[in-house]
Symmetry: C3
Subunit: 356 residues, 3 copies
Amino acid sequence: MNHQQFQLADLARLVQGECVGQADLQLRGLASLEHATSQDLAFVNVDKYLEQAQNSQAGALIVTAELKAQLSSHQNFIVVANPYLAFAILTHVFEKKQTQRGIESTAQIHPSAVIAEDAYIGHYVVIGENCVVGSNTIINSHAQIDDGVEIGKDCFIDAHVTLTGETKVGDRVRIHANTVVGSEGFGFAPYQGKWNRIAQLGSVRIGDDVRIGSNCSIDRGALDDTILENGVIIDNLVQIAHNVHIGENTAIAATCGIAGSTTIGKNCILAGACGVAGHLHITDNVTLTGMSMVTNNITEPGTYSSGMGLLPNQQWKRTVVRLRQLADVPLTQVMKRLDHMQSQIESIESTFKLRK
Amino acid sequence: MNHQQFQLADLARLVQGECVGQADLQLRGLASLEHATSQDLAFVNVDKYLEQAQNSQAGALIVTAELKAQLSSHQNFIVVANPYLAFAILTHVFEKKQTQRGIESTAQIHPSAVIAEDAYIGHYVVIGENCVVGSNTIINSHAQIDDGVEIGKDCFIDAHVTLTGETKVGDRVRIHANTVVGSEGFGFAPYQGKWNRIAQLGSVRIGDDVRIGSNCSIDRGALDDTILENGVIIDNLVQIAHNVHIGENTAIAATCGIAGSTTIGKNCILAGACGVAGHLHITDNVTLTGMSMVTNNITEPGTYSSGMGLLPNQQWKRTVVRLRQLADVPLTQVMKRLDHMQSQIESIESTFKLRK
Amino acid sequence: MNHQQFQLADLARLVQGECVGQADLQLRGLASLEHATSQDLAFVNVDKYLEQAQNSQAGALIVTAELKAQLSSHQNFIVVANPYLAFAILTHVFEKKQTQRGIESTAQIHPSAVIAEDAYIGHYVVIGENCVVGSNTIINSHAQIDDGVEIGKDCFIDAHVTLTGETKVGDRVRIHANTVVGSEGFGFAPYQGKWNRIAQLGSVRIGDDVRIGSNCSIDRGALDDTILENGVIIDNLVQIAHNVHIGENTAIAATCGIAGSTTIGKNCILAGACGVAGHLHITDNVTLTGMSMVTNNITEPGTYSSGMGLLPNQQWKRTVVRLRQLADVPLTQVMKRLDHMQSQIESIESTFKLRK
């Protein structure tokens, strides 16, 4: 965090909120309810945190009108419809910005590359032939920008990122440290027991407002391009194989893997560690819970899941034994047979009574 | 892609194919059936793409004789027995090659290192004591080659790769960006509630024609070496623990993890996200489907799988409830008891009839 | 391995063991029983390796008194209570140490940074404003140490590591190549179908004696810090999300992912590829077997597991069909109904006999 101070009224104005209490209250930071001091601003967005809010030392709280009514403990508030969104907006006020501009003397830039005047190119960055870096874009130390890569404006490319395969990056894109975009897809033609490498001739196209975490691998396409549409957000350690197409505003959590040529629609959410097989089509508005295993197309929007969840080890061992028997137990038949035998027994009993 | 042009006849010759149609047709690239233009070459290898091929704008098609007979739409062909293999071979013709040779002035190379005259050592590469880099090998910017590492000829080591632990690399090996080979294995001796680090004294041996993707971690052995045999191909974000041994021409897809001291045979295929426990032996010619969980040796060649697949979230929740009951339901008994009771009922019924 | 020689008696002394046999025996290395030569020392810690030990060419063996009594093949021993621990200690004797100290001329260090005299700062390392690097700490080539990062003494930071987000690192911490610590957490406020980035204002705090493998991603907190307590050990390719808290001496194997704000207790062991959902609490002394899926709090110490294990593909396909039926089969009822019908049948039979 930087260490400027901000007045409550000014912060309220930034989120179009109502300032309640001491308008000129000086605030130095945003903090959690638990750790906030009298110089911090905190937020409450749901009732379950009310008690914590009551006990919080925060100098001021971002709340809804409803929540404010239930908080006797504090005098200073920013009242908004959506406290979480207001909080998100204010994090940018307190964020320490990278202000350097220009090109560090140690950067290696090919004469044919076009770098905006107000971009920042860090130490030891290598930029190849015919690259383009847009206005106000920051490229941190050691980044490798190979020939033919183009990066839009207001982007953030962190240290040790490798952009290759003539990747094209839109505006306001953030790519975190040690991520690789445009590396060769995993394409091999098997012949006589050996793997014959297929040189990958496609590229990667990244839209605007895309976010990619650290240590991700996003491969270039075999012939056509791998595509991330506008607004896609990706967490850390995610694998995006060649020719995958991710639709607008889809979110992919950490350690997911998407295999080659799969298309994922718009506004999807993949929780952590999901695996999606290759050459599939997932429609828009699909949510996958954590560790989901996708081996078929998904044509209906909705939430899908996989996995048996967690069991105590001893119960798990017995469960696995049963699972190995399951293939040979016609479960649906079992119920039918039970019903059938039940009726047989009843008929016997009734006949029986008759003849008494 | 580079922008040379090639004549159809010449390309046919390269794949020992029959050139049908305009022998001097100029082609600028390889493309998918969907996006090919009249200056592009495309390929068809199975019937299901015939309609797409008919409608393709491709200037020429790589096909089998059988497929050609069914294609009225095109006049120019390269006819081969295996179009996919021919395509794989031709990708190398259209691939843009890295032609630089020599050592960039910014590279730091220990005087004892032996670098072939015709190798390329990129900007900011660091090469340590007693390293060897073979003929025609390319090492891109920022790669870190620690003391005692040896790399053969015709290799490609991409940006930000770390080779340490005195790793030995064969010929024609490709290691993609940000991968780490030879880092310390995860070995600790527990004693009195603490973890005592075991310094790893083994190394990594990589055969010829091995391919390793981006962001992989391949650890050095504890005492003996971690070994990848000739022709092994590995995708991105793969973990190979200390003392693992991977047999010839085995393929490992993205985000797989192989735990310590496990041996995997020749010609195996691990689809994405498989997990293999430690100290196991997997025989030759084993295929694991995606997300397979291997906790025992595999002694028979064949295909193996794990995972319940994907369910709609509501059904999944009910399924998990049943799975938690499964441990206490003797499934095989159920069927036996049903059969037994059925026969009891029938005997009653028959007796019954008798006494009418 | 370095190539000094050591006398058996001296090595025995280092592990407070009893030297049996030729006290001045010169040993050049530690090796596995299988590959040891007459100049190597090997260890045996369990009976099952006795035969291998008998046949080993090792010049000397680290053993317990019990094991020694069973080994007629060798004359030279180091006798200890815990051979594996003794081996762990001796690996450090044979490990090749990095002896360079000082700052390479190519490193870029901000004038406000405080670097200990006896630290090593490798080639092309970039160290930002107000950073601190402690005594005897080694930072290898290309590491990126961003503004405000503090590193204690006797640490090892390998090549291409990125330390950002004002991360604070304790003493004797080892962070392996290409790992990223302090990168931005995956925090976004959804609003009107878009993801609004939440700038991450927290940091990462790493205790003493922590070990982090290669290609890991450990994110900074949103407001409070992400915390790894003393003695935590982490393997490769592990994801630790923002605001996770890992307790003392907990071990996390490769490719695990821990989602945001989850707390894991002390002395836990997570085997490879486990996934832990966000906002959970896992108590102390919990062991998770490989590929465990954790979606609820764990309040009892013990061992827990997930996953159906591996099946031959054909059986697996049939099993998955049954699993899809399972939701609608009331397993516990089935057993009750079977018992009930059995008793009905028996009563019929008995009545029946009566009336003969």
